[in-house]
Symmetry: C2
Subunit: 262 residues, 2 copies
């Protein structure tokens, strides 16, 4: 679905997100960066009739304009930003965010600040990957039902050791960054690291509602400052209420009650 | 262990790698970047008496000079490169490589080239993580012996579906980059993406010798051009023969014969 007409008219669309239609997935980290800054973009997988096949093409066949082939979605295509004015096509979620950061005003101006935002985002994405592995601990292309016994063990370890380790880490980073007043991981403004942590917390709250309910009081800055702070931004509220935001279903964050706290 | 005296004397050490002593691990990606370019560095974990405790401190307690806390090793400390001339401390392997790339001449000069090197490195590191998960599919802090049944299944899937998928991808990237003559993933010179792929192939060859022996003929550019090309560099030969290079043991790449092709 397209963005509001007002946004569309500001400039021609230059940013095209290539990601599977119908789920938040890894594309969501990129969508949030566009949405929170009101930046026009085209979500090709969801907006174009042949969206899914364009996504597949971008990560399998599309080797043109000098861009190397990609391994997996998401990809970002930027018209005219490549070599010799050709289209730029880049892959890997943290790479796309790092590219967009300065252009969308979602990183500090200096090199140390950019590096810190990048490292915190990479850690949030590691947690995202581990959340995926709770329902697919053995084979990524096999059915959940065929690895359910292992998933029960993996999810238990994830809930009991990994969630507290990561959440405790982000809480510590927030606490140590006095300037951020608990809302921001780096300095005093929103960065794509805040958005990445916001989205993983959101996804985990969907996937493991009982576990998160029991634990959230232990991480007050993470939940009531960072998470609520992003969630209450007008741009994010508009987005969450739009049909551009896809519901969680069979992607990274899945609600299998048997994997949650019993 | 220290570098040869000749290298040491060129400049004062400004780069300090903070990583667990005694194993290649994720620190190896950073070591290779220093070694191949003859850049002086201190491998704190291996060179200092209290190396291990300095590493732990850097990722737990050390919140100073404005640097955010880290989640896990490796970290890179660069004297005077932080804000207001303080020390810069950065975390996450791909973040460290991205920082060093332009400084060590291991990336193209332009933005597209840097982005491509970064995305390929991230994909090599994803493969590195999946290799780790073959022996720890359930709990990263639990013993291998307690998750051996699951490890047998995970390793089978990894050998049969993931290795060919990743190797096929890197082979395709090499093939598509005519300028690289099969040796380089991006353009015509060595980048840290080449080094990252080199190290993962090296580690997999140690961990799954039978599997790799059976498969390597399917990826001629990856093995005889990229891998052999890096392996035959004088700087790399010197390094591999030095005691700065640590043997694989109980790190990411482990030789459990039962996990290899039978």
């Amino acid at each position: 679905m397209a963005q509001p007409e007002a946004k569309r008219q500001k400039t021609d669309t230059v940013y095209e997100l290539l990601y599977w239609p119908g789920i938040p997935g890894r594309g969501e980290f990129v969508r949030l960066a566009f949405e929170v800054t009101g930046t026009p973009y085209k979500d090709v997988g969801n907006e174009e009739k042949d969206g899914a096949s364009q996504v597949i093409k971008a990560v399998t066949e599309e080797v043109k304009d000098g861009n190397p082939p990609g391994y997996a979605p998401p990809a970002l295509r930027v018209s005219g930003a490549g070599r010799d004015g050709k289209n730029l096509l880049i892959h890997q979620t943290p790479n796309i965010l790092m590219y967009l950061g300065p252009k969308l005003g979602l990183v500090p101006d200096d090199e140390p600040g950019k590096l810190w935002v990048n490292e915190l985002t990479l850690t949030a994405l590691d947690l995202n990957n581990e959340a995926h592995d709770t329902h697919h601990p053995i084979g990524v292309t096999d059915y959940y039902e065929d690895q359910k016994d292992e998933a029960l063990k993996k999810a238990k370890d994830f809930r009991e050791t990994r969630i507290p380790k990561y959440f405790g880490y982000f809480e510590k980073v927030l606490k140590n960054n006095g300037e951020g007043k608990g809302q921001h991981l780096v300095d005093s403004s929103l960065t794509f690291a805040d958005l990445a942590v916001f989205h993983v917390v959101d996804g985990l709250t969907f996937a493991f509602p009982k576990e998160i309910k029991a634990r959230k009081k232990d991480y007050p800055l993470l939940f009531t400052k960072l998470y609520d702070g992003v969630n209450e931004l007008e741009s994010i509220k508009d987005y969450m209420n739009s049909d551009r935001r896809k519901p969680y279903s069979s992607g990274i964050f899945r609600q299998y009650p048997e994997l949650d706290r019993q």
